[in-house]
Symmetry: C2
Subunit: 883 residues, 2 copies
């Protein structure tokens, strides 16, 4: 260690913005501003290395004291004041400042240097006795609390007592005499609590404050904060000792905060608030309402001019929007802080685009500045931020957007009312595949159970529909057609409003705003497309989804699930017949009825996606999902028996029950589904494949370009795939021969079981493409049942940091990702040009998308509304790779 202390004053700083690691964020930016010639109250920064040393050794490095004294002398020279001088005292603040901002976690002490003697000097300097005593009062109070560790409420109690005694309401109404009394009482409190005097010696004040700030690096809340935000405990904090400036020295003084551009809209105007004759804490206290910055132009035109010029300079210098703090002391402007400004998605997009046009940053930089997940905000209707809302409850923000409508409790009723032109919100305990028709017509979905990847959440996201899930505060009584929340009963027909981006459930109608995709957004997306090398497709099950997907920029469909098509009102009876069939003949009969409907489905989807590949996944869920629930049947039969219903009626139900029992599984997730169905009941897959190829044939005859790809789910062995592949090829060739057309097609497989990833070299021999189904792969790799785990232990696991993130939302790169890597490498080892993609929920999550790029995937596929997110994340991944 060489030096420990870095001086700063206008044009004379020893540090710079690059020295964040040893000066902390605040110190580094103070130095940078000073060197830019910006008026910064002089001071110095004690480096983070001292904190590290102090924490470890419980003492300071040799020479530190001398450096501090030396720098204090420079500050005195710079300001013309002297620390502890009775005539013209120098007052300083002592503040923490870590490498990464930890707002409010560590300590600050202001007004250091005041005592019974110097306070008189301050009165002389300022000709303001009340101000000086108030400053002294604040020092003792803060010092007593922060440095000596006395409960802050005890000081407040004394002030309250005093106000009562004097018959006044506000602190500002206390007079000089009252303040002098307060000072005495504070000192008595300190004596009583800590058996010591308040240190009158300014140097002792400074040393003790410095120690307290360093020590606060290891206070409980700072440690917790670091743990949560993954900040290293080894970094330490710097300490900034800086000349006090006062915004509360009269109406030619003031304080304020601002942004160089509007952080909400991105508009290029100085934006912020200020208060005259006030200190920072007064703004925070909220007793007086701050004025918008443009009013300062009228009130103090010269200061405003300077502020405007300096902040523009700061923005140009830092090449990004700045969030700054300033104080005006008797007409003179000081900057106390500057940092990168946080902004809304809308602002981020506009600012990035504008700055490119202004030549301030490159397109690549613009792309790197947007947090992809933020884009979600732009793509959905949202609550009007000006609206007053009454929040009834909060659930999980399962699918973004906002919607208002009347409550309905059953999917059938939802369809009825929607047909009458009503906007409805479907409220259920949880949804199941049988509710799809109701979900389709609803404005939004609210469930009282289930997690971020529950059925309701997944389907709603797929539909781009607002959904609040797992809102446990609400008790849904589907039978009684009512819900109860905080003692309030809402019934069918009552209005509610949902905010799927925050999880809020609101009473009544709340105004919402349409999403507007600005020109900046379009432009940014074009830049992203120009850079990214990985394709982006969408998961889309319906023609409507496909249309949205194209609007969002999808380059094909990476996953078209066919099971949702089986739940249609016109199809379910045939599907059930197919399942209940006593023999192959009956089953074929039922399956045949479904074929023309499936063909129409595929024709429409191919039509919407003309020119792009469409991956159709053959039937995946276990058959029992299409039959009534076991316990419902059980209770129904029981009831019929007790009511002595007709034997025939009971028998009919029992027949279904027997089939349900046959098909029932202990762990349906690991059961008779996916290609296992395709192998045991080949006629179902045959029908689907025929429908796909016949749909393609008809469109090709119309002159359209169609690229069907057939995907086999849940493959664990090469043999499964080769058996099914053979059948598919046979059907394709039959149709081509009969219809005298040729069409291109591919046959591929989901990789969604650990075994498939591990044996990818074998499986690739039979596959034209791989698509990682990371939802199921996460379930099997972790041994987590999504339906169960999300409600039961995942919340606890993420809270206790056993899991960094919910692995169903953010791909677990360490475990599941390892299988994705293994699968990709082994697959490509035997088939160099194997097309590899992902179609799990993770395909729209930025960090996962970047992982997919690094693994070398050809594309990601995600819900239509996440396509822009994936496009941006893919571009960022490419840029990160270049670095």
């Amino acid at each position: 260690m060489g030096r420990y202390v870095y001086f700063f004053a206008k044009n004379k700083a020893e540090g710079s913005a690059k020295m964040r690691d040893i000066l902390g964020g605040k110190g580094a930016n103070l130095a940078e501003m000073a060197n830019l010639g910006i008026p910064v109250p002089p001071g110095f920064t004690i480096s983070t290395e001292v904190c590290v040393y102090y924490t470890k050794m419980r003492k300071y490095p040799e020479g530190l004291m001398e450096e501090i004294e030396e720098n204090l002398n420079r500050v005195e020279k710079e300001t013309g004041k002297k620390f502890g001088n009775p005539e013209n005292p120098l007052l300083v603040s002592v503040r923490s400042g870590a490498r990464i901002s930890m707002p409010g976690m560590m300590d600050t002490v202001l007004n250091i240097g005041l005592n019974e003697i110097t306070v008189k000097g301050l009165i002389k300097q300022t000709e303001n006795e009340r101000f000086a005593y108030d400053a002294y009062r604040r020092l003792i109070q803060m010092f007593g609390n922060v440095v000596l560790g006395i409960d802050g409420r005890k000081f407040e109690e004394i002030i309250e007592e005093k106000k009562k005694e004097k018959g006044v309401k506000d602190d500002v109404d206390l007079e000089v005499k009252d303040l002098e009394e307060l000072l005495e009482e504070f000192k008595i409190l300190i004596k009583k609590e800590k058996h010591r005097e308040f240190p009158e010696d300014p140097y002792e004040q400074l040393n003790m404050a410095r120690d307290a700030v360093f020590a606060s690096w290891n206070n409980k809340r700072a440690i917790n904060y670091r743990r949560i935000h993954k900040i290293s405990d080894d970094w330490g904090t710097a300490v900034n000792v800086q000349t006090m400036v006062f915004g509360n020295m009269g109406n030619d003084s003031g304080t304020g905060v601002g942004f160089t551009r509007n952080p909400s809209t991105g508009e290029k105007t100085l934006y912020g608030e200020y208060l005259l004759n006030a200190q920072g804490e007064d703004v925070v206290a909220g007793i007086r309402t701050p004025k918008p910055l443009f009013e300062l132009k009228k009130e103090m035109p010269e200061v405003y001019e300077e502020l405007s010029e300096i902040t523009q300079r700061l923005e140009r210098h830092y090449r990004d929007v700045q969030d700054f703090e300033f104080t005006i002391e008797k007409g003179k402007l000081y900057f106390l802080q500057t940092r990168t400004g946080k902004r809304t998605a809308q602002a981020a997009v506009k600012i990035a685009c504008d700055m490119v046009k202004e030549g301030l940053i490159t397109r690549e930089e613009a792309l790197m500045r947007i947090e992809p997940a933020q884009l979600d905000q732009l793509l959905h209707r949202r609550i009007d931020p000006r609206a007053r809302v009454e929040v009834l409850a909060r659930g999980l923000p399962a699918s973004p957007g906002a919607a208002t409508g009347i409550i309905v409790f059953t999917p059938d009723r939802a369809v009825e009312l929607a047909n009458d032109g009503k906007k409805v919100i479907l409220v259920r305990q949880e949804t199941s595949p049988e509710d799809i028709h109701g979900m389709a017509v609803a404005q939004a979905i609210l469930t009282s159970r289930g997690g971020m990847t529950s059925h309701a959440a997944v389907v709603a996201r797929g539909m781009g529909k607002c959904c609040v899930a797992g809102c446990e505060e609400i008790k849904v009584e589907e039978k009684n057609k009512r819900l109860i929340v905080k003692g309030l009963i809402l019934r069918e027909g009552d209005f509610i409003t949902l905010d799927g981006s925050t999880g809020r459930v609101m009473k009544g109608k709340v105004p919402t705003i349409e999403p507007q995709l600005s020109g900046s957004f379009e432009e940014l997306m074009r830049w992203a497309d120009g850079i990214r090398t990985m394709g982006v497709r969408a998961n889309a099950d319906t023609p409507k989804d496909a249309r949205v997907a194209r609007q969002m920029g999808a380059e094909g469909i990476g996953l078209c699930r066919t099971e949702h098509m089986f739940f249609g009102e016109d199809r379910l009876p045939f599907v059930q017949k197919m399942i209940m069939a006593k023999n192959l003949e009956e089953r074929r009969e039922a399956v045949k009825k479904l074929e023309p409907m499936q063909k129409e489905d595929f024709k429409k989807i191919f039509g919407e996606m003309e020119g792009f590949p469409v991956i159709i996944r053959l039937l995946d869920p276990p058959l029992h999902e299409f039959l009534p629930k076991y316990e419902d049947l059980l209770l129904e039969i029981n009831k019929l028996r007790f009511e002595k219903a007709k034997e025939k009626e009971i028998e009919e139900k029992e027949k279904i029950l027997r089939r349900v029992v046959d098909l029932r599984e202990m762990n349906p997730m690991l059961g008779h589904r996916g290609c296992r169905l395709g192998i045991t009941f080949p006629e179902i897959y045959d029908m689907q494949v025929k429908a796909v190829f016949e749909a393609a044939t008809e469109l090709i005859k119309e002159g359209k370009k169609v690229y069907p790809e057939i995907m086999i789910p849940l493959v664990a062995t090469k043999e499964e795939l080769s058996i099914l592949r053979e059948r598919i090829i046979k059907i394709a060739e039959e149709i081509m021969k009969r219809e005298k057309v040729t069409f291109e097609y591919k046959i591929g497989t989901m990789i969604e079981l650990p075994r498939a990833a591990l044996c990818a070299d074998k499986i690739a021999q039979e596959a034209d493409f791989f698509s990682f189904g990371t939802n199921d792969l996460t379930q099997t790799t972790f041994g987590f049942s999504r339906d169960d785990a999300e409600g039961k232990f995942i919340p606890l696991y993420t809270e206790r940091k056993i899991l960094r993130e919910d692995p169903f939302q953010v791909l677990d790169q360490e475990g599941v990702g390892e299988l994705v890597k293994i699968g990709t490498q082994r697959g490509r080892r035997v088939k160099k040009d194997l097309e590899v993609g992902i179609c799990g929920e993770h395909g729209g999550e930025p960090s996962s998308v970047k992982f997919c790029h690094r693994v070398g995937m050809d594309y990601v596929s995600c819900s239509p509304y996440r396509v822009p997110i994936a496009r941006l994340a893919a571009a960022q991944a490419k840029l990160e790779e270049k670095r």
Copy 2:
């Protein structure tokens, strides 16, 4: 290709036993015997390479015909007969012979060389007209069927017709004239069916027979046989052309088969059967009863002497028991075949040991000769092979052994009757953990549902108890206390007998035999122990299991499941209280009650396993397994409601129902179990850990040696293990301090999730040992729910060869094994001396045990009765490695 044909005759063979690949098994052994000076009828072998060439090119290689002719000349010279000679004709057989025996799959033609003219020569040679015509009749019949492809039944019909016509009963009663007529009729049949004459030319006969045998390599049943037995289609068969010898030329002729030692007991005596004046097919036909070989000693002492000498020579030469065929032609002995003899487990063990003592083979060879899985036969009671049995049905041979007892349908009743001294067999549709007490007292278990790894099967194997599972022919009516099988009704109290090694369910009492572990067995096991480097432990949950495990040679317990202890009648109420607890206080209260019981359990187990490590797995199953079933409760409440029962009673049930609903899971296998429970309800694990260490402490104070190891189930992340490890260490240290003892202990984890294997390098940092739980690992790697898959699609999958074996019985080395390898390597990468073992069912399956050795595991752990199998397999693995 150089040469295609290999001659053999006594002391003059061109081939040898080593040339199995090109001569086939039969040809190679004929050559070997010939060169040993054993009387073998002269002949030659056409190599398998000719078959391969012929199959591919549809023609023979150049020069083959010349080679055949040349060799035929040598045979003529050797025998003094001439092929096709009217005076002294040579007759030959043409037989297939592949590298690996495919019994009955390919074709054979005998008596080639006979025709209208040579038959006269044969009469001259043999002075037996009837014999000669009968031989000719057999040739035409065989040739017509095998070479020309005429349905064999048509020939039989003609014979039947003839016998009816002549009024005789047996073939042998037909006279020469009748046979001549038959010949004519056969030839007419051939003409009619194939529009060609029977080939009178001996060379044409020979060539056509040769072609037919080569072609039979690719007949349907041969192809199927190869597919099933994994024999390459590319190997081809050899063709053996050999001089005919006849055992049916009078009472100085005969034929027989035998073993050099008793294949059933292993006793060292010549063992076999023979018939005088007969051919091989007469023995097979079973019309006459063959005599035991020792009678030949009286009937033909010289021949017997020669037979005895030669077979001893053969055994010494081949250094293994031989299974041989011989023919005596007019007092002269010929050997037609020799091969390694199949034998029972008992015989295999005795023979291997004896041969070592005789200096014939080494200990290593002896060990390699025993099929480890065979040992199972020795370790269990079995049906007396002499008993007459009436088989009612066949189920899966789920757990070996045999037992007789009276039927009971509920576990409670089983306990009652067992307490009365009755031997009971528990019959259930399927068993669940709640049936354990009934299973424990039963002699055997029979279920009508479930597979080889169903609950019943797994528990029964663990208990070393006979079990027949999934016997679907039986309808079990638990309510009516009866079962129905093939129209027969059996009730509680009726006797049945089960054979768990074959799956047979038999009526009434059938005598059974105790297993007797011979001295040879013990000796062999000691040799195995001397060679193997991998340890063998047992999975044992009770003191009784532990005792058996030690008897079987286990070196510790690799898996002691604690959940079975929770199902005890005296414990379940407290377990349920613990689950129903409204708060932590109540839960602690209930848990406390369990602690002394658990401590006693552990003390007893440690006591039995003194001096060896005992790995105790903390509670694993989801809590709902300890509560009544959801649907039972549902129906019960429903019933109470309809019957207008007291509200209070209903409420009580509803309270339980609510908790059951709370705990209910879609996929319990992937649910809230294992260490997830340990983390959410730490007091349960704390109690178990305390019980373990206190039990250890008490025994140590008694001067006993105890090595407790604690195993955490279902770990997916390092963090789970580190949280639990910390708690365990704390408890251990508290007890050591309080009790003033020190004990050694280890803390380790199951590796039973793909993620754990993939992240083994992280997890190993917190683990003293890994134990691969390959049951669950197979479930998650394949995405197979064992409970569902075994009944639903695994049978179809193995039948269709999608899976080579049921992966729950034989470790899937390609997929699951890959994770085992990855887990072991990554774990040891960070902790070189990490102890690694396996405790899934596979730990007792020989091929899986060998895999574990190759992966470098420290030990395998399996059910007590499989310990000897594992010991032998481990020794074999070591020997295979040395090669």
